[in-house]
Amino acid sequence: MKSSNEWENKILSIVDALPDGLLIVDKDNKISIINSKAEKFLDVDRKQVLSKPVLDLGHLSNIRKIIFPVLVDFKGSRPGGCRGCMKKETEVRKNFVLELTIEPLVLGKNNVAKMIILRDITKIKYARVAENQFISVTVHQLKAPLSNTRLSLKMMLDGNFGKINKEQQDILEKTYKNNESLISLVEDLLKAAKVDEPGKSDNRSLANLEDLVVPVIDFYRDEMRRKKIKFKFDKPAKNPPEILADQEKIKMVIQNLFDNAVKYTPSGGKIEACIMSKKDEAEFKIKDSGIGIPEDQKEKIFTRFSRAVNVIGTKETGSGLGLSIAKEIIEEHHGKIWFQSKENEGSTFFFSLPITGK
């Protein structure tokens, strides 16, 4: 009858050999499993922590600094899938960045533990910092000539340098439009580099989600009218949800989602936006009757520079950065972003953010 013990030992050996740190906190908030990598990352010995309530381990500085905050922030009780998990990056010390993923682990009825995975992302983080610095410098160098080209073309089109004929006007207008696409690409690149700038102070304040959505809707009204798009906006009749947010960043997310919906919905189509107040989160959704996302493109839709193949042939330009920026911002705010889509029928994008004080 060695099988049960043998299996347990085998599994514990596998867990111990994992390249990432793993910590299981049971339903009574006691640490029931810790592997070697987690011991190393947290600078603790398993004998010090096993079977002890996490809250009694405040004297261990890394448990206090790294594990306490994620357990406090973690509200997910829905097991499975991305909707129940939470990710957080922590700079443990200079040149050491950990990514913590915390996920509910169902072990039985009324027995939900928490699984914390600790991953060393220092190399990835610093590679991104270098990449972003490179993007920032390059983009700033590109912006000056593009702005000059824009100003000179517009001045020519406005007749500042003499009369132009119809053919010249046509060519200049096309050149102007191409230049505008390049400007919007470099501006998106700058925003993307800015979003994950290291050590950037966060400008969070209390905000009503409706106050962030309405200005974006107003901005797109003319374009929706021009394309004869039927637009509907629903919101809670009272007590609009309040969130703690960097308002400019959340507006950028809403704008990116609106921009895609308006761009890829054909003339005469439909767009519906909606704010909902859920139990402990505020949810925003925008549904369009656009071209949709092909099944095989869905997986990479939130990765940088990704544009679905069915939009590449359209006249709409885009950098493929909007959704990756949106995802980074929402996750930075401990929220979730997801979508449903069917090619040729339309897409619905959602994000949710924790409601303040809940």
Binding site: H140, K143, A144, L146, S147, N148, R150, L151, S152, K154, M155, D158, N160, I183, E187, L190, K194, E248
Partner: protein, 124 residues
């Protein structure tokens, strides 16, 4: 009376374009290619308005603006920033330092620039 506008801008082509536009609208213009020269010129010739770039060699536009707004002799000269910077932090910084407007080069055209200059020059 013709209004005198000082353009502090290191980009030669942009200076040329904006000068042409201003001259065609009857303004008198003077130019400076960096912050230091710009400050000397402001203090010497007291222009009616300054068009100021931010990313300048030596002394940047924010420093130029702070200097002008700390000097009682130049404090009241309206300054319109015309820059490629567009982040909220930069715009807020420019306005907090006392600029009348913060215009992003890739988002305005010459007619809008003229309108804003005329508005900044008109008595409140």
């Amino acid at each position: 009376m013709e209004k005198n506008i000082l353009i502090i801008e290191d980009d030669e082509f942009f200076r040329e374009l904006i000068s042409k536009k201003l001259l065609s609208k009857g303004f008198k213009i003077s130019e400076a290619v960096d912050g230091k020269t710009g400050l000397v010129r402001v203090k010497k010739s007291k222009p009616d308005l300054i068009l100021l770039d931010i990313l300048l060699p030596d002394v940047d536009g924010f420093e130029v603006l702070a200097d002008l707004k700390h000097d009682s002799g130049t404090l009241s000269i309206p300054v319109v920033i015309l820059s490629n910077l567009l982040s909220k932090e930069d715009v807020d910084k420019g306005l907090k330092l006392g600029a009348s407007n913060f215009l992003v080069k890739s988002q305005v055209d010459s007619e809008e620039i003229i309108k804003i200059i005329e508005k900044a020059l008109s008595p409140a």
